[in-house]
């Protein structure tokens, strides 16, 4: 086994072992005491060690991998359909794995401080740390499995286990009544998407006779089948990567502890869908219909998320909707045939979104609320958090030279190219993504500015008297994440980096590898002016509005759109009316039908038999004269029959 293969295999295995061991620790002890402290310490050690080791492994993989590597062994054979266990490694895998492991480590460390009794906890709360840390480890393992998997079924294992871990972690907070419902919603909505994902995998696997990604990519699929399979896969992608109309779970998932939001929004879960499309891009690239659908979903998602983010009052919900919007950029880049740009933005987004959530967690931790209407003026009391948040928001809005500027620029450039010159998808898809992306820039700048002003500037409105910067265990993960959030974009200038992000097995990669030095992902030219102007416009409008009324909400700029945006265009209610309630009614109807009709027929036939038996028995209970008459009549009948039949003979 070569070194990269060994590293790639260990990558998901290490956090998996840490997670499984962690689940064996006692989940809760009846009273606070030494036993609980010991369990907590063990859980912390296991969690951080697992994440740190996977980060080391991922970095080592990035360092040692010089050519794509693959290893496969048969897992099980289903009558001519082979399912394999194996890894499929390239530089993209290594880069994404580094991002996943780094965010996971930051989250593990941050959670140590975050899930301790905060200043607003009057009662002693048992945070059930061991299962929490173990579930983060499992979550990391599942995402890393998706990243390295060389087989679609193996990928599906990681994909679904990740859904389960998000469910468990979102429901972690026991004092929050909304948490169980939000967790269930997250699992179910993504699971509905996974119906399509499973069917898509089934179609591809049956067509290729194997579920190995290499076999599936190299097989010459029939066009109709490939189209159907790609569209079905998109359903799963839309679920995991929160694309319209399956995005509804993501904002509700804010019920989970803030570090978990960072984990879900930055490197795992929502990244998985985009990553899988990039991984299978040689297939998607052949199906313009699928790319067109993806492009439309991306444009809607991008604008929907940005508008909704503008009108939220909850700090975390603004960030959640901004994730929805940024995911629109990612899938938009895929739709215009630029997986490398999508992965580039995925990596920078992982950095700045993790930073933003962890910094927001520090704010919530210190101020005791996440509502911006109760925050404000934290700039002076929480300078470290303020500056980190500033870097994160700048990167999110695409302020040069922070990371988001370059990656968003590469997405917009790709969309513009596709709009002007066409690509694997029709030109109108390029236009749609490009225009939505440009409008999105202004909106993003608007809500980022609003968040910054309402939280850190103006008069303090906090209920707690003395908000202050968080302790070191919370501060350091935030501070360290500012580095990639600020600087990762510069990597886009490197051609090597661009080549690393090209999907393995695609035509472009071979071309660039053989003929030309790869194009860098960043294109500095006159086209960057347009987004910059829009950014200034969005930020300027929000700022001007705030200047006029520092206590007011710049969201009033939305005018009549504001209530609509605040409710995210009533899509949640629509989903409830169109899907949830009919199914509940159908279920109640099915139950009644099953009990009354199906079981009714069974018990009914029993009752009829009982009644018939009773009737016959009553008929046989006769008095002597009638019985004698009956016997006589019977004898007569038999005699008659004998005469008649005998007479014939």
């Amino acid at each position: 086994m070569s070194t990269p293969v060994l590293l790639g295999t260990l990558l998901p295995a290490v956090p998996l072992v840490a997670g499984l061991l962690g689940l064996l620790l006692p989940p809760a002890s009846p009273e606070a005491g030494a036993a609980r402290r010991r369990a907590r310490r063990a859980a912390i050690t296991l969690g951080t060690t697992g994440a740190a080791l996977s980060l080391l492994l991922a970095v080592a993989l990035l360092a040692t991998l010089d050519a794509p590597a693959e290893a496969t062994r048969t897992w099980v054979d289903f009558g001519g359909l082979t399912v394999t266990l194996g890894v499929r490694l390239d530089s993209t895998v290594a880069l994404v794995a580094v991002a996943v492991a780094a965010v996971a480590l930051a989250v593990q460390v941050y959670s140590i401080g975050y899930l301790r009794n905060g200043p607003h906890d009057e009662v002693d709360v048992d945070h059930r740390y061991p299962p929490y840390a173990a579930q983060i480890s499992l979550f990391t393992a599942a995402m890393l499995l998706v990243v390295v998997a060389g087989d679609l079924i193996l990928l599906l294992v990681g994909w679904e286990v990740m859904g389960l871990c998000s469910y468990l972690l979102i429901a972690h907070e026991r004092r929050l009544p909304a948490a169980p419902g939000a967790a269930m919603k997250a699992f179910l909505v993504t699971r509905v998407g996974d119906v399509g994902f499973l069917l898509g995998i089934a179609l591809l696997g049956v067509s290729a006779g194997s579920f190995r990604i290499a076999d599936v990519l190299s097989h010459d699929h029939a066009t109709g089948l490939l189209t159907a399979a790609c569209l079905l896969l998109l359903a799963g992608v839309a679920g995991k990567s929160a694309q319209f109309p399956l995005h509804t779970w993501l904002p509700d998932a804010m019920a989970g502890p803030t570090p978990i939001s960072a984990l879900i929004h930055a490197a795992t879960m929502v990244a998985a869908g985009v990553y899988v499309v990039a991984r299978l891009f040689p297939l998607f690239g052949q199906v313009p219909v699928a790319l067109a659908v993806l492009g439309v979903l991306a444009s809607i998602t991008l604008l929907l998320g940005a508008f909704a983010a503008l009108a939220q009052d909850d700090l975390k919900r603004v960030l959640a909707w901004s994730t929805v919007s940024q995911l629109g950029y990612l899938t938009g880049a895929l739709a215009v045939g630029a997986p490398a740009a999508a992965l580039f933005h995925l990596l920078t987004h992982a950095a700045f979104k993790a930073l933003l959530f962890l910094a927001a967690g520090a704010v919530i931790h210190a101020a005791g609320t996440a509502l911006m209407s109760q925050l404000g003026g934290l700039r002076r009391t929480m300078p470290v958090t303020f500056w980190s948040m500033l870097v994160g928001l700048g990167a999110l809005a695409g302020l040069p030279p922070l990371s988001g500027f370059f990656s968003k620029d590469s997405v917009l450039y790709a969309a513009e190219e596709a709009a002007r010159h066409g690509g694997p998808a029709p030109a109108w898809v390029g236009w749609s993504v490009w225009l939505a992306g440009l409008v999105g820039v202004a909106l993003t700048a608007g809500y980022a500015t609003r968040l910054l002003l309402r939280t850190f500037f103006g008069a303090p409105r906090s209920p707690l008297p003395q908000p202050h910067d968080p302790p070191a265990v919370l501060r350091w993960p935030v501070l360290l994440l500012t580095v990639p959030a600020a600087l990762l974009g510069l990597a886009g200038f490197s051609g090597t980096f661009a080549r690393w992000l090209e999907p393995y097995g695609s035509a472009t990669r071979e071309r660039t590898a053989e003929l030309l030095p790869a194009d860098p992902l960043v294109h500095v030219g006159p086209t960057v002016l347009l987004p910059l102007v829009l950014l200034a416009l969005g930020a300027g409008l929000a700022w001007a509005r705030w200047r006029r009324d520092p206590g007011g909400d710049p969201a009033v700029l939305l005018g009549p759109l504001r209530p609509l945006s605040a409710r995210a265009f009533w899509l949640d209610d629509l989903q409830h009316t169109l899907v949830v309630r009919p199914i509940a009614r159908l279920a109640a109807g099915a139950r009644t039908a099953d009990e009354v009709v199906v079981d009714g027929a069974v018990t009914g036939s029993g009752r009829v038999a009982w009644w018939l038996g009773g009737g016959l028995a009553a008929w046989h209970r006769a008095t002597l004269p009638r019985a004698a008459a009956g016997v006589l009549a019977g004898a007569l009948l038999i005699g008659l029959a004998a005469v008649l039949i005998g007479g014939d003979a």
Binding site: L23, G79, G80, A587, A590, G606
Partner: protein, 504 residues
């Protein structure tokens, strides 16, 4: 392993629990009797496990299409020479996993009874009945003679009736009566089907009959219809399932575990081994109907579960949906589908067995199974809640756990058959998978999450050592089969291919 040892083990698998039942019934001391019963169940498992050794798996598969059943070990003795009935037992890769599952679940149930006897009757009698049921189920899986198969199939019925009536819940009499009468109705069809086959083919030997060589088309269609109906009652296949929710809900915990864990498998096993094996042409003819009913079972079963209000009844109904996946796999009549059915069978036995154990534990502690009264279990009993969560997640078919393979690959098999009908069935079955997740998550949300309800608040956090010992093997097997499906399917490759090779 030499042939003689294999034959001795084969007979021991039936003789040990039978003798155990007799001894248990004869002993006066209750606890000693339960102990003897548990030991007998353990010895049965020990006899069943090594049967796999010496099974030559690849034995000429493909080169010689007949016979389509190649038992690893067999015992073939004259039984009623006048009627040409033979006492013919054998084990192969299709039956062995089920035999082991049966032996394991019976052992766990006997062991559980050692710790706790459900109120109603003596523990001694319960253990004896469990062992008799085990003899019947194991005999059904091992029989290679149709008449013998029928006899063992029937042996199970009355002791199970007695278990439900003797140790069951408040509405046990009605449930047990319904169970006995309904399945008896299925048995009548089975008997007629067996007689049709035997008179048309002139032999009752399953080895000779498999592949449908002895039967022409007409009798095959008739035989398959009768046999499939009989097995559909047992499996159960919608709409012949309505005995199941009552019986499973009213039965004591160990009874529910055996019912759901292995008793239902007699139906699916019979469908694969007898109905499809003996009348492949009939199977081909009826496959679309079977597929449609299987998918209807998946959808109706999960919808009904979504509207259930009682813990045990919900789990009972979930079997209808899960067995729908197994039957869909069988109905595709492909190598993929049959493998999915076999592993789905085993997985359902393990997972639903565990779910019934846990539901019993919750009901014993909270004294109610009403979902409206149960909530917040993870606050008061985190371990129990965690195990329930694990079992529920396994049951919803999470990849990486045992339940995934059967359900996902039943869908894959339907896709593989292709055509508008089967593709539609695949889509609907996959949607059923999402509904399955919906009702199990609803169950978890209701029972484990939220504020502790009054009845849950008085539940202690502890889990008895006996309970952990009983559940641990099932938890581990769920993980093991999920991670290494080869454990079940490795031995089944050759027999499944052989079974299908005789297909026209």
């Amino acid at each position: 392993m030499s042939g003689v040892v294999g034959q001795v083990l084969l007979v021991a698998v039936l003789a040990v629990p039978a003798a155990g039942a007799a001894v248990v019934a004869a002993l006066r001391h209750d606890r000693a009797a339960r102990l003897v019963g548990t030991v007998a169940a353990g010895l049965t498992l020990l006899a069943a496990l090594p049967l796999v050794a010496g099974g030559d798996d690849a034995g000429g598969a493909g080169t010689d299409p007949s016979p389509a059943v190649r038992p690893w070990h067999q015992v073939d003795l004259p039984w009623v020479p006048g009627l040409d009935l033979r006492f013919h037992l054998g084990v192969d890769g299709i039956s062995w996993p089920l035999v082991v599952l049966t032996a394991l679940l019976t052992l766990l149930c006997c062991g559980y009874t050692l710790w706790k006897v459900p109120c109603g009757g003596s523990g001694r009698a319960l253990v004896a009945l469990l062992l008799v049921v085990e003899v019947g189920i194991l005999g059904t899986f091992l029989a290679l003679d149709l008449v013998l198969f029928f006899v063992f199939f029937e042996v199970v019925l009355l002791p199970m009736y007695a278990i439900i009536v003797g140790w069951g819940g408040p509405d046990r009499r009605r449930a047990a009566r319904k169970f006995a009468l309904y399945t008896l109705f299925g048995s009548v069809l089975l008997l007629v089907g067996v007689l049709v086959v035997v008179t048309a083919a002139g032999t009752a030997d399953i080895v000779a009959l498999t592949g449908g060589t002895g039967l022409s088309r007409g009798p095959q269609l008739a035989a398959f219809t009768l046999l499939a109906l009989a097995f559909a009652v047992k499996s159960p296949l919608w709409p012949l399932h309505s005995w199941l929710p009552d019986a499973h809900t009213q039965a004591p915990t160990v009874g529910s575990v055996i019912l759901a864990g292995v008793l239902l498998k007699m139906g699916t096993y019979g469908l694969i081994r007898v109905a499809v094996g003996v009348a492949p042409e009939g199977a081909e003819w009826a496959a679309p109907v079977l597929g449609v009913l299987a998918v209807a079972a998946i959808l109706v079963g999960s919808l009904v579960c979504l509207a259930q209000t009682e813990l045990k009844r919900l789990i009972a109904y979930s079997s209808v949906g899960h067995m729908g996946f197994v039957l869909l796999g069988v109905a595709t009549l492909t190598g993929t589908g049959l493998r999915a059915a076999l592993i789905g069978n085993i997985a359902h036995g393990i997972i639903t067995g565990l779910l019934f154990f846990l539901a019993g534990a919750i009901k014993d502690r909270a004294h109610t199974g009403d979902l409206a009264d149960l909530s917040g279990l993870r606050d008061t009993a985190p371990r129990l809640a965690g195990l329930l969560g694990f079992a529920a997640v396994a049951s919803l078919g999470l990849p990486g756990l045992a339940g995934f393979w059967g359900e996902a690959f039943a869908v894959v098999a339907a896709v593989r058959v292709g055509g508008p009908l089967w593709l539609t069935l695949a889509v609907l079955a996959a949607l059923g998978g999402a509904l399955t997740a919906a009702y199990l998550l609803r169950l978890l949300r209701q029972v484990t999450h939220g504020q502790a309800s009054p009845v849950v608040a008085q539940v202690g956090p502890g889990v008895a050592r006996a309970e952990l010992l009983t559940w641990a093997p099932l938890v581990l097997l769920t993980l093991a089969v999920g991670l290494a499906p080869i454990l079940v399917l490795g031995v089944a490759q050759a027999p499944v291919d052989a079974l299908l090779s005789g297909r026209p």
